[in-house]
């Protein structure tokens, strides 16, 4: 290394050691922040990895709720929601909707009857470009209270050892309510007859600046026709898709969007805990679906129904799930968009 003649070598060596140490400290701080030195940190990569089946994920597909169909329609806001939030799509009017009806699990080829949980992701767009995205499921409670517990549940379920699941259930009493719902709740043979629940809480802020914590649900206009698990098992593997396509031939499918407002002391941070039934609930409009598209051709495939994409007037609450879901959904999105060629081939070959 060239040294100016006036620099005494002794102090230069000390300076070089100091420089190396300073650069090392900054580099180490960066590596720590990035999680490279923290193998125990629950990163979105680890969370998304935990969703994969033993044979690995279906490339190009969502890492969870992998099987679904795109739907389009509109949200007809009745204006009642404007009292809760200044979000533009809660003012009276009609706003375009892009959605995706789906079933849970990482396998896009699962027979519909084999999966107990159904989902509905949607995006309502306002004329000014603001968006309200949400992804809802049909259980009335979530199986776990925290994202860390969700990861532990995936690990127990993926271990292939029944005693791990028994240990998990024993250590997480709220999990029992979810299992009980799967075992006992009446099933239907249609997404159109399914009630979807947001489960996570969010903050709505009105035009005057008053904030309230809320949850939302989609209540089907079609009367639920209960069917037994045995009856569902006799149907074809894609009966949900066939049903919705058939219904849309004769007219739109509707759900009422109902927003429930928490009272002080309600468990806003814990989606395993329902709020008391008498809580104020405001019907803010109707979600109308009038067309469906197969996922490979539909606009929903490459859209992330990230629950943290919210308009002004809506925000996250103390519920830790929307942040965890946003982080994990982004990871799932990054991975599947990198595998888009795989998806095209897999679907093209199968149909």
């Amino acid at each position: 290394m060239p040294q100016p003649s006036r620099s005494p070598p002794r102090s230069a060596l000390g300076s070089l050691v100091l420089i190396a140490a300073l650069v090392g400290v900054v580099g180490a701080a960066f590596a720590y922040t990035a999680g490279w030195l923290a193998p125990g940190r629950l990163t979105p990569d680890r969370l998304v990895d935990s969703l994969a089946p033993p044979g690995g994920p279906a490339l190009g597909f969502r890492r969870n709720h992998a099987k679904g169909i795109c739907v389009t329609g509109r949200f007809e806001a009745n204006g009642a929601g404007a009292a809760l939030s200044r979000a533009p799509m809660l003012a009276q009017g009609s706003f375009p909707v892009l959605g995706r009806l789906n079933i849970a699990g990482p396998n896009p080829a699962s027979p519909d009857a084999s999966v107990p949980v159904r989902g509905f992701g949607w995006r309502i767009a306002a004329p000014d470009g603001q968006e309200w995205r949400s992804a809802m499921i049909d259980p009335p409670v979530f199986p776990v209270a925290t994202p860390e517990d969700f990861y532990a549940l995936q690990q127990a379920a993926g271990s292939g050892r029944p005693e791990r699941m028994q240990e998990f259930a024993a250590a997480h009493p709220s999990f029992g309510a979810f299992v009980n719902w799967i075992r006992t709740a009446p099933k239907t043979a249609s997404w159109a007859e399914t009630r979807f629940n947001g489960l996570n809480s969010f903050t709505f802020t009105d035009a005057g600046g008053t904030a309230r914590v809320v949850r939302w649900s989609l209540i089907p206009a079609a009367a639920p026709v209960p069917v037994t698990a045995e009856q569902l098992g006799q149907r074809g593997p894609d009966f949900l898709r066939q049903d919705i396509v058939e219904r849309l031939r004769t007219g739109p499918v509707r759900w009422t969007l109902a927003v429930t407002v928490a009272e002080p002391g309600d468990p806003t941070a814990d989606p395993t805990k329902p709020w008391p039934a008498e809580r104020r609930t405001v019907e803010v409009g109707t979600l109308v679906i009038d067309a469906a598209q197969p996922e490979p051709e539909g606009a929903c495939r490459d859209l992330n129904f990230d629950p943290a994409v919210l308009p002004d007037g809506m925000g996250t609450s103390d519920d830790p799930f929307p942040a965890a879901r946003s982080s994990a959904y982004a990871k799932s999105y990054d991975r599947r968009t990198a595998e888009v060629e795989e998806y095209r081939r897999a679907t093209g070959g199968g149909r």
Partner: protein, 194 residues
């Protein structure tokens, strides 16, 4: 000895120096937030994302201002005694810094556009998309944003090491040309006189 140092008056202008240090803070924060946010699922994830997007655009705007100042005022000449290889490295690193300061925010913005995410700045206000919706484009832009950001941090470490080397070992006034504030005890003029 004057040939090995920068003359006392040859410093970056006060505006250039102020912008350099303000942007150094912003860019370091940006890179730490970037790697921090993609490695956590905790609620701070959303806080970091909400800072990352507008801060990136702020850096883009500041980088454009800085580029204009550089065109207008130039840079102090490097000491004549500096080896040619070091001079070349210094010049190339400046090109790389300007390229990355401009490219990384644009890549981030384009990546959000290709994915159909709103590029939310503050409140409900978002920047318009600058790229058509495309999974393939998103993937390419994501990769470029990710790896160039890591390269940017590596370049900053090199720059940091080089600045300290000039300040502590060569003591040739190169560090002082960009140092904040007035000329301290290590002023190039004084060093040159020693």
């Amino acid at each position: 000895m004057s040939g090995t140092t920068i003359a006392g008056a040859a410093r970056f202008t006060p505006a250039q120096r102020a912008l350099h240090w303000a942007m150094a803070l912003c860019i370091l924060a940006m890179l730490f937030i970037g790697v921090g946010m993609v490695s956590t699922i905790r609620p701070i994830y959303l806080v970091m994302v909400a800072i990352h997007r507008p801060l990136g655009i702020a850096i883009l705007v500041l980088a454009l201002v800085r580029l204009l100042l550089r065109w207008r005022h130039g840079a102090p000449p490097l000491p004549a005694g500096m080896p040619e290889a070091m001079k070349l490295a210094a010049r190339l690193s400046h090109y790389a810094f300007y390229a990355l300061m401009l490219a990384l925010p644009l890549l981030g913005w384009a990546m959000l556009s290709a994915a159909g995410y709103p590029a939310t700045m503050v409140g409900g206000w978002a920047l318009p998309p600058i790229m058509p919706r495309s999974a393939t484009l998103h993937s390419v832009l994501w990769g470029a944003h990710h790896y160039l950001a890591l390269a940017f941090f590596a370049l900053i470490l090199l720059h940091f090491a080089a600045a300290l080397y000039h300040a502590l070992v060569r003591r040739d006034g190169v560090f002082e040309a960009m140092a904040p504030g007035g000329l301290p005890g290590h002023a190039p003029g004084r060093v040159a006189a020693e």
